[in-house]
């Protein structure tokens, strides 16, 4: 085979970072060139099995997307036991609530196997607002959409729980 051809096609498009980013809901609205901007924006970090990504109470400044591997989200109880909240796999993301507003992390995250996480942080996003306002607004739209979807789901859940509580109180 011609080495030139093999060189050109060596990296399949599906393996590229921008291809992966396109599959993440936050970046779903971005197109080729804009994805390249995001690609230069995010930080790719490799974690070993059992490594802590962040702890509850850490200052949070951005979100992580799991490119490969998986993480476990948990909170530490007063007696030191860890109670698991969720297990996430490739394509999932977490920490998106601290992307726009500085806040403390409300849970801890530990990597379950050797993983690659893609980090997107507030400082970079602020910089992008200045340089590529179009890209920044699309990313922010994506984040807002997801946060509001979750907020609505949480609201419904609260209503459901309230109703359940009321019926439980009435029955007693």
């Amino acid at each position: 085979m011609n080495p030139l051809w093999s060189n050109i096609f060596r990296r399949r498009e599906e393996d590229s970072l921008s291809w992966f980013l396109k599959t993440v809901p936050v970046f779903a609205e971005l197109k080729g060139r804009e994805l390249a901007v995001v690609e230069s924006l995010v930080h790719s970090r490799r974690y070993k099995e059992g490594e802590i990504v962040f702890e509850e109470g850490d200052p949070g400044s951005g979100m992580y997307v799991i490119r490969s591997g998986g993480v476990r989200i948990f909170i530490r109880e007063k007696n030191g036991r860890e109670s698991e909240l969720a297990v996430l796999g490739p394509g999932d993301f977490f920490g998106e609530t601290t992307l726009t507003a500085p806040a403390l992390r409300t849970a801890s995250v530990r990597v379950q196997e050797n993983s690659e996480l893609i980090g997107l942080f507030r400082a970079d996003l602020l910089e992008t607002v200045r340089k590529h306002p179009m890209v920044a607004s699309k990313v922010l739209m994506g984040v807002t959409r997801i946060v509001s979807e979750r907020l609505q789901a949480a609201g419904q859940e609260i209503r459901r729980l309230k109703a359940a509580l009321e019926t439980a109180v009435r029955e007693n």
Partner: protein, 376 residues
């Protein structure tokens, strides 16, 4: 006895060994020390000429970065943006130099003639001051003020006359390195910074990333503000002086602008040559008072303190006067006049970094949301 002799012998061997070991240790220590200090000397020598161009190109990067960001928004490549800016700057420089070369020659020659005149006047002044002092404070009899002023003035004049052509040569090398460094800082600065941040361990990466960007933004803002402030003060002084018959208006404006980078002391030093020239050439007339007014109430109080500083410089970077003086003295010890000028901005940048770190930690410890009373 034999026993003790043996122990004595043993002791002697031991002593010898100890002596040898100590000698070896001292020799090794000396060797390490000398090689380390030699290394430091080598590093120092190797980087000696780099300090100034690097610093200046960092400042230039801070100044040009926002402009390039604006152009880049029009979907033009970053390198192209830098080339556009560079060509514009080159045009400006060519224009300035084509104006300056004929004028500058004349100015330089007249300055060479005038400087001794000004210093002579300064010595005369100091003599009259000394006469006054002798009259009122006779115990200062053996303090020769005018001689002291004379040696200082002569040193200064010699310095200016000899060192200016010499430093012109050094400026030549800066002219070569400055655009190069600035180009790469502008083009790849962000990538370089990202690579450096990426070295941080996973656990601290987020915090390092956040702090670096915060500190970077504040420092850039501060440096930019300082330079623009100095430029405007220089322009105001130059324009104000151009209403009078004083010569070297442009030079005096530049001097006032540069010295304005040093707080408290800078402005005072900045107005001395202007006032001296005015006193010698124009006498103590209304023009002298106008020049004094331009220097102090107009340029310093109104323009700088009431308009520029509140707009351009955040209060965060305010330094205590004591710290300013210490910084200037230390900067002067290290890098001479240049060190005096850059010491205060450098210390301010360090202060900004410390305050940002402190602020960062405080922001995140205020809201007490981590420990709500969770049912155990």
């Amino acid at each position: 006895m034999a026993n003790s002799g043996q122990s004595n012998n043993f002791n002697r061997v031991q002593m010898l060994l100890l002596f040898l070991a100590l000698t070896a240790a001292i020799a090794t220590g000396l060797a390490i020390f000398s090689s380390v200090s030699k290394m430091f000397v080598l590093i120092q020598e190797a980087t000696a000429g780099l300090f100034l161009p690097l610093l200046l190109s960092l400042v230039a990067t801070f100044l040009l970065n926002p402009i390039i960001d604006v152009i880049e928004r029009e979907k033009i490549g970053r390198s192209t943006c830098i080339f556009i800016i560079y060509s514009l700057l080159a045009l400006v420089f060519i224009a300035v130099f084509s104006w300056l070369l004929p004028h500058g020659q004349g100015m330089w020659q007249s300055l060479q003639e005038d400087l001794p005149r000004y210093t002579a006047r300064l010595i005369e002044l100091s003599k009259s001051v000394q006469g006054y002092l002798h009259e009122h404070l006779p115990f200062l009899d053996n303090y020769n003020l005018s001689a002291r002023v004379r040696t200082m003035a002569e040193l200064l004049v010699a310095d200016i006359l000899v060192a200016t052509p010499k430093s012109a040569l050094r400026i030549g090398s800066i002219f070569l390195l400055l655009p190069l460094f600035t180009f790469f800082f502008l083009r790849d600065g962000e990538q370089i910074l990202r690579r450096c941040i990426a070295l941080a361990p996973n656990r601290h990466f987020e915090m390092v990333h956040d702090l670096v960007s915060l500190i970077g933004r504040q420092t850039a803002h501060f440096i930019r503000g300082r330079i623009i402030e100095a430029f405007i003060v220089g322009v105001v002084v130059a324009i104000g002086l151009s209403f009078t018959d004083i010569r070297y208006t442009l030079l005096l404006g530049v001097f006032a602008g540069v010295t304005n980078l040093v707080p408290y002391i800078g402005p005072i030093i900045g107005m001395i040559p202007g006032l001296l020239i005015a006193l010698v050439d124009l006498g103590l007339g209304p023009q002298f008072w106008w020049i004094l007014i331009v220097y102090f109430p107009i340029a310093q109080v109104i323009v700088d303190n009431f308009i520029l500083i509140p707009i351009l410089i955040s209060r965060v970077s305010n330094l205590h006067p004591l710290l300013v003086i210490v910084a200037i003295v230390m900067g002067g010890k290290l890098y001479g006049v240049l060190g005096m000028i850059i010491a205060v901005p450098v210390v301010s940048a360090i202060k900004i970094a410390i305050i940002e770190i402190h602020h960062y930690r405080r922001t995140f410890t205020l809201p007490d949301v981590i420990e709500p009373d969770r049912p155990a």
